[in-house]
Symmetry: none
Subunit: 222 residues, 2 copies
DNA sequence: CCCAGGCTCCACCGGACGGTGGAGACGGAG
DNA sequence: CTCCGTCTCCACCGTCCGGTGGAGCCTGGG
């Protein structure tokens, strides 16, 4: 895909100095070709549609349409361009949002020129490229021990349930009525009521919404 | 911290050929110094305790004690050494486990020698270093679009609720009865029932457990 | 062998829930 | 001003839920 020969790049930033700087840095590499510039997200959509670049360097903070919105639009219309988000700040939320939108890279503006060139090359090849601090955020996001307290408690309590009770509890937390559960498990309604009752006792709750809470807490993956 | 001058490295792998290879690659860099080798996790603990390296290149698959277990032990005893996990395979689980244990890097054994040297230097400086495919796994882990679908739907539907209805819906999903909600919001039970009713209509559900599902889906942060 | 525990079911009851239709007050949009 | 939406409440009614106290059945362990 793309540049076996030359990697076509579009630079999107509202600051003329930044655009000039990027053009100079990337232009210094013989295998990179800055084929277009845009000053905001709206502009970027046009330029990218026209130039069909391999890689887009996209600022986030821009007037009219910001870089994340532009990235969303591009991905929606199935662009083949890989997008590197380039920003001064790396707030947690922006990083996750950008990556969820399908950005291939997330670089801080303090990235060394040489690294920037490397990043563009790698992204053009389909590899991801993140600044170290962004990588750290990603690791932190994945590592998070979640809501350990509630989850442990929920698991402990749920572990006391018998097989059948567990099935019933699951059905309850799916929002089913006793009658529906009875049908679904091929049981009498009376039996379901018995099971639901012992689930209440074992989980120390008094209504089915609270059962749903426990079940969902315990299931909460990741 | 550590190597302003020389980065002290320990290589841990049960395969003599791999150790020799790594020693050659890293030894070729004047600022890197391979100060020790270990053939398994158990051995590694001793060598690292003795040599106090800046960076450890740690294989996962090893006899006696594997690399992940060794990493855990090292971190438990508060080692200052940064650990790069080096393996042929990059299963999802191993990656997450390694990072949760505090590994600073996760590289595949097909990493280019030059990149390996770069990785050791960066990790020595406290930066993370992941192979592209590992980064992709992390991104995938964070992206999970499945959750997103339910969540968007839930948010959309919940957005239709009025302020009051939203409060009532929250109370409902906390497992409160109508009477409790009435007391907590200083309302008549009749009013609560009305609100609950319109919540059902707007969310297109028929009982309060299903309301709890929507509310929790929409709230599901991370 | 018996007993404990799990699964299945039953009857009864009061209270909570869910659906329907209405009403008065208030505030903002047209 | 009138209309519309929101918030507040009311009454009625059938259903479902949750609690209590049973009862058989089967399996596995002491």
């Amino acid at each position: 895909m793309a540049g076996v020969s030359t990697v076509r790049v579009v630079v999107v930033d509202d600051d003329p100095l930044v655009r000039a700087g990027l053009r100079m840095i990337l232009g210094g590499a013989p295998d990179l070709d800055v084929v277009g510039e845009a000053v905001d997200g709206q502009d970027a959509l046009d330029v990218i549609a026209r130039e069909l670049p391999d890689v887009v360097l996209m600022d986030i903070r821009m007037p009219r349409m910001d870089g994340l919105a532009a990235t969303r639009r591009l991905k929606e219309r199935g662009t083949s361009a890989r997008i590197i988000v380039l920003t001064t700040f790396d707030t947690d939320e922006m990083v996750l949002t950008a990556l969820q939108l399908g950005a291939s890279g997330f670089l801080l503006k303090d990235t060394a020129p040489a690294d920037l060139v490397v990043a563009v090359r790698r992204v053009a090849l389909g590899e991801p490229m993140l600044s170290p601090s962004v990588t750290n955020q990603l690791i932190a996001a994945v590592t998070r021990p979640s809501d350990d307290g509630r989850r442990r408690k929920a698991r402990t309590l749920l572990a006391r349930l018998t097989e059948r009770e567990r099935e019933v509890a699951d059905a309850v937390s799916d929002g089913m009525t006793n009658t529906e559960i009875a049908r679904s498990l091929h049981l009498g309604v009376a039996t379901v009521k018995t099971h639901v009752g012992s689930v209440f006792t074992k989980l120390e709750v008094t209504n089915r919404v609270q059962v749903a809470r426990y079940v969902h807490d315990a299931a909460d993956d990741r």
